[in-house]
């Protein structure tokens, strides 16, 4: 059990959910992605069109939140638009498998 394994699990989940739900967007925020020191949990945001999509995703990524210190927030596009969550929290888009920020910033780059 290690940060690279956590990232592997995250990449698997992102791939799986992108194949299952159209127009789905994953973001990372909080200490794991933004701090260079330590992290207390991995803050993830998933934005999708409908609540039904969100519920499906919550089930599909069960491994992620039942086995890792992950704080997953699922929002519909309307909820995100009303709260401006992405901008407010400086969320980083996670695109296609292992995210592009890996190793470049945040506690996630630590061994």
């Amino acid at each position: 059990m290690s940060v690279p394994q956590l990232l592997q699990c995250l990449a698997k989940v992102i791939e799986l959910t992108e194949a299952s739900v159209s127009n789905a967007r994953w973001f990372g925020f909080g200490s794991f992605f933004l701090s260079t020191k330590h992290f207390s949990d991995v803050d993830l945001l998933f934005v999708c069109a409908t609540q039904e999509d969100g519920i499906l995703i919550h089930q599909l990524c069960r491994e992620l939140w039942t086995e890792w210190p992950v704080d997953l927030l699922i929002m519909t596009e309307a909820e995100e638009a009303n709260t401006s969550f992405i901008v407010k929290w400086g969320c980083i888009p996670l695109i296609g498998g292992i995210p592009h920020w890996r190793g470049s910033q945040g506690a996630c780059g630590l061994p």
Binding site: M1, K37, H38, D41, Q51, I55, H58, V70, L73, E79
Partner: protein, 223 residues
């Protein structure tokens, strides 16, 4: 994926070891527990679990391996602490929570006292709100988030406190799926609040959702 207790302890202790401002080093003492060494205070003894729903038997298994732990941390952030587990932990005087709460306990330490009495601020806040209500007869903890609120006047109520900064419709449904049904949800985070979709989701499940303390308090008086 089943991981060994040793794997879990290695992972949790490595997270704590990164708190270099507060922590000198960590030392694994059993497959279920480790010591946190700091400059100022005596070492803190921490137990580690990684379970989606923590029962009393899980706590007992850990205590059989190391009865001297002060705090038990569960790796999944949203892992549920069942009432039976909480009862045993309180009886033994052991603090508990996700790794984030353990970090709060370590970085917030101001004296030589062990971590046993630590309670996270949001837990304390919700318990205080419930305890101060005039219609309270007694509280029974069902999970770490849900309380059975027995009233002097009126039927008991199942009340959940959710601290999410943005409480969305899906997260309301997820909390109910994880913790079980509640009759009332109180959104305890004063900096955020439920979205309109959260109210719709709660309503569709027959749950009353409040984010204002006055409204919530009034409801606890209503039969």
């Amino acid at each position: 994926m089943a991981r060994s207790p040793q794997d879990n302890t290695n992972f949790a202790s490595s997270m704590i070891a990164r708190m270099t401002e507060a922590v000198q080093r960590v030392e694994i003492v059993t497959p279920y527990s480790f010591l946190v060494h700091t400059e100022k205070f005596p070492p803190a003894r921490v137990g580690v679990l990684s379970i989606n729903k923590v029962e009393a038997s899980d706590v007992q298994r850990l205590l059989d391996a190391d009865p001297r732990v002060e705090f038990i941390a569960n790796i999944p952030k949203v892992g549920v602490w069942q009432g039976s587990a909480i009862h045993l932990l309180q009886e033994k005087g052991i603090a508990f929570g996700p790794v984030k709460h353990l970090m709060g306990a370590i970085s917030g330490r101001r004296d030589e006292e062990p971590l046993n009495d630590y309670e996270h601020a949001e837990t304390k806040y919700f318990k205080t709100i419930l305890s101060q209500h005039k219609n309270l007869h007694h509280l029974v903890r069902v999970t770490d988030l849900i309380y059975e609120f027995h009233r002097k006047n009126g039927e008991p109520l199942l009340i959940a406190g959710l601290n999410d900064y943005e409480l969305t419709g899906v997260m309301i449904r997820a909390a109910v799926a994880q913790h079980g049904h509640a009759s009332i949800i109180f959104a305890t985070n004063p900096n955020g609040g439920p979205t309109p979709e959260a109210y719709d989701a709660a309503n569709s499940m027959g749950i009353e959702l409040y984010d204002q303390r006055n409204d919530f308090y009034r409801r606890l008086h209503t039969p």
